[in-house]
Symmetry: C2
Subunit: 337 residues, 2 copies
């Protein structure tokens, strides 16, 4: 609700004050070239005098374009690519709006959210949820013609998407442990409903088997710090021996390091630990964490750029852009003694 006295001025008010038609004012605002210099100056001065700014709602209604990109994601707290997305969007002339789903929302929740969002006349959608409920065709119809890009979706799906090759990342991590001589490798996996967690887990198992090894004990956490702690305690209590521990993300790895420390297990002397993500803090863990880095800046940049070019060219062919993680070796891994 506006202060009643702060009645906004409109195109017509400006036009009247400047002694021109509203259309001329519109031209000045939209930088149309065909306006005489004197007229433009007169209009600009009137705009300043009335403190006029165009009403976006009306503009959106008239043009059908909002210059708004909507990001739909499931947990804002841990969204490191967010600032880069906002920055990229702005750079391309768009505003990025963010809306959040509860973690592991049901299909109906996603449907409802999309219903709500597409009513707002947004120009494009970035969808960043780890639970791939819908096929490309379903998604297309849910988005009702609004172009969309899936961010961090499953590898290999036929949908406009930008993803990391999780498999490659896991292979780097496991290969590193194998190279160091480890043969008994335990795992703390992510939440089983999380697409990345599934893929990371499968890759670990597949790869160990491919090397003729029996996968070590494995427990599923939920990607949060406390679950990393609790899972590690369970692993230790199970009595199954392991000399290396692969943790599906850095956050849980922090919990794992804590648990190992409390139990007197030295890292990396007794157990090597590898994380995943390379969150900013990982380099300062005790010991600094060896982990798999995903360049979220690039993820953000690619996602927004792809979406914007789809907006400009709706018939753009569907593609999946795949990015590759890299291994960052720090102090939490060492050769098997």
């Amino acid at each position: 609700m506006q202060d009643p006295q702060v009645k906004r001025s409109t195109l017509r008010d400006v036009a009247e004050l400047a002694g021109v038609s509203y259309q001329t004012v519109s031209r000045v605002i939209n930088q149309h070239p065909n306006v005489a210099r004197r007229t433009r100056e007169r209009v600009l001065s009137a705009i300043r005098q009335l403190d006029y700014r165009p009403n976006q709602a009306a503009k959106v209604l008239a043009t059908g374009r909002s210059y708004i990109l909507q990001l739909l994601m499931y947990d804002i707290r841990y969204s490191d690519p967010l600032p880069a997305m906002i920055y990229q969007a702005r750079k391309q002339g768009y505003t990025l709006l963010i809306s959040e789903l509860s973690p592991f929302a049901a299909p109906e929740d996603i449907r409802a959210a999309l219903d709500d969002l597409t009513a707002r006349m947004i120009d494009g959608l970035l969808i960043y949820t780890p639970t791939p409920f819908f096929s490309y065709t379903e998604m297309r119809s849910l988005c009702r013609g609004v172009p969309f890009v899936l961010v961090g979706a499953a590898l290999g799906i036929k949908s406009p998407s930008v993803v990391f090759d999780q498999r490659h990342g896991c292979e780097l991590a496991i290969q590193h442990l194998l190279d160091l001589g480890h043969r008994q490798i335990a795992e703390i996996a992510g939440h089983p409903r999380h697409i990345d967690a599934q893929l990371r887990h499968e890759t670990v198992v597949t790869m160990l088997k491919a090397h003729g090894l029996t996968p070590g004990p494995s427990i599923a956490g939920d990607f949060e710090v406390p679950s990393g702690y609790a899972s590690t305690i369970k692993l230790l209590d199970s009595g199954e021996p392991f000399t290396a521990l692969f943790v599906a993300n850095d956050r849980m790895a922090l919990g794992a390091l804590r648990a190992l420390h409390e139990r007197g297990v030295r890292v990396p002397e007794d157990v090597s630990v590898v994380g995943f993500d390379d969150m900013g803090e990982a380099a300062y863990f005790n010991p600094p964490l060896t982990t798999v880095r995903q360049d979220l800046q690039v993820l953000a940049q690619q996602s927004v750029e792809y979406l914007v070019s789809m907006i400009g060219n709706p018939s753009m062919p569907v593609q999946q852009r795949v990015l590759y993680p890299e291994l960052i070796v720090r102090g939490s891994t060492a050769p098997l003694k």
Copy 2:
């Protein structure tokens, strides 16, 4: 740009199909009571059939209300209250939009951002920046009649605001160190342009002096992990002795713990460390960090609730809601030996 074939249906399309006037359809949508049951059903069925959803831009234009709250903040990455704000806003029937300023934006940047935002017909503004450039009167005029609440602003300002009593939080931390017997207390402060950093620093100095102590060495960081690390190295290299270290936020404290560990300084045996914020990871640092907790859920809840009531009642008196932090004692502090 929409797919041309996915032309959205409008009120009129629905009206035609249902054999009623557009106004009746509008009534059905807005739950107006005076609609005959049979008519309502006919309309609802037409809505379903056409997959109709009202155009929000048009609605905003007609009503002047968007049911959108805008959050203006300076660094999304570290915004723990964000999810709570989004949740609270939704609970009250609003959508929360987020936009970001570069860290320590200049006054003109804030002005430009507000110019842009207020053009979008938002119902209210949450302003969460640590640099208080404008007076209440200036702010009011910048917001052009849109109600606003300052979040985490300076203590004692006459503006609608919800803040933590930083002073109280610092006093808790320092008192804790004093109680443990520490007399040589070093400090890593936050960025000097950050309002919270200033207040925390001043409070530390004031309080130590009040106890007849000389404030120990102090270095200003920037609230990021690496600066906590670098500052600690500098403190150690300076040769000035200290038995306790107050760090202005947990993130820097993580860097500090790392630096102390590398230099062979034991925490808490040789040096006690206190942080500020109680970020989720702090309990899992090595050692677990003693820190000052601010309940960000409450901050978020109060901010949104206050803003929404201002929207409902524009003549609501200006108030500052002050929240109090609490001390969380963990393993990084111990009695002076």
